[in-house]
């Protein structure tokens, strides 16, 4: 995740310093997609954790 924080910072810097509108849009697309991936990973990890701790599994 630390690596991701670094790339967000770098992409934001590039976004701010790029003049070409379409290139900036592409940078934004990358920022948005990485955020969506992070959210998906967080949700899936939560789902795994929740399943491990589910009372249904306690009897196993």
């Amino acid at each position: 995740m630390e690596q991701n924080a670094w790339i967000h910072e770098q992409l934001q810097h590039l976004f701010t310093n790029t003049d070409d509108y379409n290139r900036r849009t592409l940078i934004k697309a990358a920022q948005d997609l990485i955020r969506e991936q992070e959210k998906r990973i967080y949700q899936m990890e939560g789902e795994i954790e929740g399943t491990i701790w589910s009372p249904k599994r306690w009897g196993e």
């Binding site: 379409n22 990358a30 899936m44």
Partner: protein, 232 residues
């Protein structure tokens, strides 16, 4: 995949939304922009040339302002003369068979009016039935339409959020899954990386692409773990 973007607008220079979106795709080499009013001001359509263009592309898009629940008149005329039985469609199939077809609509009224009880009474899916029927008759797969409502009132920082899915409508495989969008974006980044050699931009975008790839494989691994947990 090659996309033919057939644009119909009688006064395109004055249209802010058309200019915005057409400028937004000027870097895409796999999109052919084909503005009918500019090419055929006298409505004398070169039917063979149009059919040849259709043949050369895999995805056909009509882009137009939604006037009186339909297209500007030249696009209707284009359909009347270019879609010719025995060539584009017919009992033995035609050149459009198996291609994809979609609409990009610029709409001046707010989205909430296009529903039962709204000012327009009907949904866009209901009002665009003739285009759906045309796609069906010619053997094309009808894509979900891309609807742009009251673009002129859209705030600047929201515009890119509309331009990105517009790019996808024109150039991405018809599948909105995260994996498809990841692969599509990585291809776009790759193109830019190859043309910006030795710059900071190249390094950062290359790094971003690697992160997307790593995240993608992490998601795949988590899917496997979850699958095993639910099916053991």
């Amino acid at each position: 995949m090659r996309t033919l973007l057939i644009v119909s607008h009688p006064d395109i220079i004055e249209s802010y939304s058309q200019q915005y979106f057409l400028n937004g795709i000027k870097d895409f080499s796999n999109i052919t922009v084909h503005h009918l009013e500019n090419l055929y001001p006298d409505w004398n359509i070169d039917v063979r040339k149009e059919q040849e263009l259709l043949r050369e592309h895999d995805r056909i898009i009509f882009q137009f302002p939604f006037y009186w629940y339909s297209s500007p008149p030249l696009l209707k005329h284009w359909q009347d003369v270019v879609l010719e039985e025995g060539v584009t469609h017919g009992p033995r199939g035609g050149i459009l068979e198996g291609k994809e077809f979609g609409l990009v609509l610029m709409i001046g009224v707010s989205e909430k009016e296009y529903r039962a009880g709204g000012n327009e009474q009907f949904t866009i899916s209901e009002l665009t039935k003739p285009f759906q029927a045309m796609a069906g008759k010619t053997g094309m797969h009808y894509l979900p339409p891309f609807e742009i409502y009251q673009f002129v009132y859209t705030e600047d920082d929201r515009k890119m959020d509309i331009l990105i899915p517009y790019w996808q409508m024109l150039t991405m495989e018809n599948n909105d899954s995260l994996a498809t969008r990841e692969n599509w974006l990585m291809d776009l980044l790759e193109d830019v990386i190859n043309t910006s050699e030795g710059t900071d931009e190249q390094n950062i975008l290359e790094y971003a692409k690697n992160i997307i790839e790593e995240n993608q494989s992490e998601i795949e691994d988590l899917k496997i773990v979850l699958n095993q947990m639910y099916h053991r």
